[in-house]
Amino acid sequence: MNRVVQPNARPGVLAGATIVGVPDRLAMRRRVLAAVRPYLYILPTFFFLFIFTHYPILKTFYLSLFKWNLATPKREFVGLANYLQAWSTPLFWQVLQNNVVFAVGTIPISLALALALALLINQRIRGLAIYRAALFYPTLLPMAAAAMIWLWILTPSYGLVNFYGKALGLPDIHWLGHSRLALPALMLVGIWKRLGYYMVIFLAGLQVIPEHLYEAAILEGAGPWKRFWRVTFPLLSPTTFFVAIMAVIDSFQAIDQVYLMTQGGPGNNTNLFIFYIYQNAFRFFDMGYASAVSGILFLILLGLTVLAFRMLHRRVHYA
């Protein structure tokens, strides 16, 4: 590039105003260059985005209309049969139910704890950095490592939880092999892993609440309890809602801990969406059905994320 082109100036005006007596062809070239430049800048991003994001979304819905087993490469068009198959498969509903139970069991507890901890840490106290690091570090860990840590802690007889459980008079429990306790055990891992992350998001929300509102509340004689419910909680509600949606999305993406800790068992009691898709696609090679389930998950998550983005938008206006 041999001269400056204002990115947002209209190229025609610029060329006409500043270049006198230059052959038309050169001016023309600059005009074209200025017009295509933004597209050249976004080209690398959109090249990869198309291949690995847009195309697979469309293709997933397309493939969901076929019976296609990887072992026999012939595809057969079956319309909505894969979706009907999901509808009439009890396991599909169980997986959906597991995921809902997982979400409902994880999210209110995580959010309440994260908010409480954010309120505590938002006080000006000594040792704040240490507390924050202690609560936040699991966010940094791979879920695979978290799974290993909890496999060991929950292990029967020798695990830390059973040691102290027995001291309190509880029986020796095989948490991950228990049909009713395996899913709560995975929830515990999820809460432990995400708590610190939600806490710092709440902290960010708390820090933009203007101090003068608290001062006004104190002048009116409002105690800490009243200040929380009248000032903090309402002003924080967009953050709360946003974190809640994010937590729901997280819960629908849970797979690593399922794969490493329970393999969906016992008896599919911890089989969650992504693991179910994985099983169908890469163990039973039923790509058509797996695509249909992916499509359903995609629509669920899209709905939730659109909601989250709208909340985020509202929060930006608050701040």
Binding site: Q6, L49, P56, L120, P142, I149, S157, F163, D256, F298
Partner: protein
């Protein structure tokens, strides 16, 4: 909020309790990793190793291709970051400071990447990778993330904040276009780059599911996947001390970085929440 002295004691007590509950699992596995193999099979908890030993860590190096996994992880995480820095810089600059037809629609099409779970496109991406002949390569692990909506979004905010006058003044001095981007806009956006880099490196260091789907041998496998596979081998499953040593070896460097640059990490992750 200001807190009066008598409030501080319960605040400390509660934070200490919560902090301990969150930290104890890590403490427990760290101590386990230094114990002798059979020491853990005790019915009364022994916190401190009776005879502290490093044999588990040496054992891990013998039992799995640890350094191979480490190298793969470094190549994937940093190689990916390198490409992402180029793609997000160009795209963010165009979206922040240029006007062109279809810009808003294209921006929404970009944000689609933030709205979907990467796992929900894994099947079709697997087919694409097979067709490209990239199965079981490090490039395949990086491929779906070469463009980053989060990074573009984050940088676009930063680039938008650069005053128009600065750009005009630079243009008068002959520093326009790509040179303005490289010499003025990019240096001004370094905090944004840092936030993105930390989130991206952490995410890809930790990723498990996509590498699991797309690799078949140890050739391209990363640390977390190696750890998962090791846990499912007879050797790993029967030996808790060695498994905990392996876990510790996988998380040691990122954790140390976090402890040193705590504030940077936390601020970066705060922004990742805002970006979606």
């Amino acid at each position: 909020m200001r807190s009066r002295p008598f409030w501080r004691l319960p605040v400390h007590a509660l934070l200490l309790l919560a902090g301990l509950v969150v930290v104890i699992p890590f403490l427990w596995i760290t101590l386990t990793a230094f114990k002798e193999r059979n020491e853990v099979f005790s019915l009364i908890p022994q916190w401190l190793p009776a005879h502290p030993t490093l044999q588990n860590f040496w054992g891990v190096l013998d039992a799995m291709p640890f350094w191979r996994y480490y190298w793969n992880t470094l190549v994937v995480a940093f190689g990916l970051l390198g490409v992402q820095l180029i793609t997000i810089t160009l795209a963010a600059y165009a979206f922040a400071r240029m006007e062109f037809r279809g810009r808003d629609v294209l921006f929404i099409l970009l944000l689609v990447q933030l709205m979907i779970a990467p796992q929900s496109t894994a099947i079709q991406n697997y087919v694409t990778i097979v067709n490209l002949g990239l199965l079981d390569t490090r490039l395949a692990i990086m491929a779906p993330y070469l463009a980053s909506a989060f990074g573009t979004f984050l940088l676009r905010q930063t680039f938008k904040g650069i005053p128009r006058e600065l750009e005009e003044a630079a243009a008068l001095d002959g520093c326009g276009g790509l040179r303005f981007l490289l010499y003025i806009a990019v240096p001004l956006a370094i905090p944004g780059y840092l936030a993105f880099a930390l989130v991206s490196l952490t995410y890809h260091w930790n990723e498990f599911f996509w590498p699991l789907v797309i690799t078949e041998t140890n050739k391209a496998r990363t640390l977390t996947l190696g750890l998962g596979i090791f846990a499912q081998t007879a050797e790993g499953a029967a030996d808790w001390t060695m498994l905990m040593a392996a876990t510790l070896m996988v998380i040691a460097v990122p954790l140390a970085c976090f402890l040193i640059f705590q504030r940077r990490f936390i601020n970066s992750f705060m922004q990742s929440g805002l970006g979606g």
